[in-house]
Amino acid sequence: MTRTGPARHFKKILIANRGEIAVRIVRACREMDITPVAVFSEADAAALHVRLADEAYAIGNAPSRDSYLNVERVLAAVRASGAEAVHPGYGFLAENAAFAKACADAGLVFIGPRSETIALMGEKTSARRLAVEAGVPVVPGTMAALSDGATLRREAERIGFPVMLKAAAGGGGKGMRLVATPGELDPAAERARGEARSAFGDDRVYLEKAMIRPRHVEIQVMADAYGGAVHLFERECSIQRRHQKVIEESPSPAVTPELRERMGALALALVKRAGYLNAGTLEFLVDADRNPYFLEMNTRLQVEHPVTEMVTGVDLVKLQIRVAQGERLPFAQGDVRQSGHAIECRVYAEDPDNSFLPSPGIIHALRVPGGPGIRDDSGVYEGATVSIHYDPLVSKLVAHGADRDEALRRMRRAVAEYNVLGIKTTLPFFGRVLRHPAFVSGDYDTSFIETAFRDAPDTTERPWDVALAAAALHAHRERQKAVHAAESGSGGGSSWRASTWRSSGGRWP
């Protein structure tokens, strides 16, 4: 146990995921001289993560259950590649205890917690019981999963409406419903259980007291195999739609130094109690009086991990790999600091003007912002197709600044620089959020998206004339080009383009 050097050094890691997170892990492998191995479904043969990897294995048809969720096929790819370790990313098999166990049984390293811990934390009611044992306050609610309607109704009455209905095996907002009155309980439960069944193969649910306008704040933790554990401060995740996060930031504008210290200590108490290993996140609700209540633990890398990376300078994916190699944490709690401020916007292929409905399709043009403090963790490229089969996350745009004001201004600039043609994205919506007084002040909660724009349609003067001119000129020039091509029979020359300056007499408007 006194060993300080690496127990081993992975030569090859298989990435059991797709999209931006697979790309993120490929990049970490590259920086560590580890060979990254991709897997891909039929729909993803031309995906960015395959383009960037050294080796790639086809694992089945487009639907996730036939490919990315298929334990046997993923393990077959691991065997074929000779990889020593598997990084599951988030989603798909990342919180599948049976997969983690199958890896261990096959002599592979699963880059994440032990399978028993995944099972313990993955069943949300057992995680709640463990938190109570560790002295961590939880949201009042049922301590066991429920599957019959009569018990559900009785428990809901006992807790008192409004209640939050959640999938026991859940995560990612799937199978979650807010129920305001007794009459809504049965239809909401039916919907939630249907979603839970298709997402997790388990339709049991549990109830929590719905808190009024809470903030959603989470603590990043990291633990090694030798009892070393640190927290890497908080992320504020209150900007959500359909219970899924769309903007995150760190530090949280709502968290005082005292609350930060308290939440960090609570998180580490649960980490120790659970014998936790590798990266994890504890989600809390924080009420108006700044009381934190534990919600659940995500036993994996989080989508929004870049905001923590930007403010702490810690590369979480490389640290995950080092811990999985058997290394000790290279720093202690006192060595990590929050430096500056970071904001992340999740660029989804969704139509923000139409209930955030998915907008799959071909990305015909893509312009990505750059410059100081900007990071774009993307899973696509110009010409790529956003498939109907998977989560519509296109990219995560992150801005870092010396303080919140600078990070916010950088993010506004970057959102304006970002251009995607061919699909609808959440980018225009971010432009509005980043200028909303409640967001700018930092005084917002999880009801923000539902309420902020409800009664105030966007009446901002926009450059409509320029947009009209651009479209009309495009149509006009397409027609001129067609006429020109027909006349010259050459398929469209470009001499008329180059001569603009001369023929305009050296004057531009």
Binding site: K174, R191, G194, E195, S198, A199, R242, D351, N354, S355, L357, P358, S359, P360, H364, A365, R367, I388, Y390, D391, P392, A416, E417, N419, V420, L421, G422, K424, L427, P428, G431, R462, P463, W464, D465, V466, A467, L468, A469, A470, A471, A472, L473, H474, A475, H476, R477, E478, R479, Q480, W496, R497, S499, T500, R502, S503, S504, G505, W508, P509
Partner: protein
Amino acid sequence: MIFDATVDGRPARVEVRSASGLYTVLVDGRPLRVAVFPTARHFTTLLIDGRCHDAGVLRQGANHAVALRDGTFEVTLEAAARGAMAPHRKAATGPAKVRAPMPGKILRVVAAAGQEVRAGECLVVMEAMKMENEIRSPRDGRIKDVFVKEGQAVESGALLILVE
């Protein structure tokens, strides 16, 4: 060329005239003097009265997605004849066609023919991209027809419901 156009749903008449390699674009009679410089695929720099605009245009039928620094705009163009402006299209008064915004499976049909609905009311629940998506009524009205059944797979753009 003259167009009857809409931008973000607002109607406008737009005329493009070219002379000496430059363009004059008239938007409801307001003249803009424009120089056009193609840059990347789908993109041009427009120089309008000393201001430069980095404009991306993607045409899909009559619809043009126009990306400017201030965001993306939906522009529709229809070639028009010189003279009086065409009467404003009746889209706002005829029956509203509710279409599937993406391919997926119909999980539940909430609305029934003959039922009165309010704008924003859920009509159909569709499963697509791993989520249950509520398809809502675009306006107040009465359900004239329902074209889908629960469990049915639909393509993007499939007609689901007619609201009158």
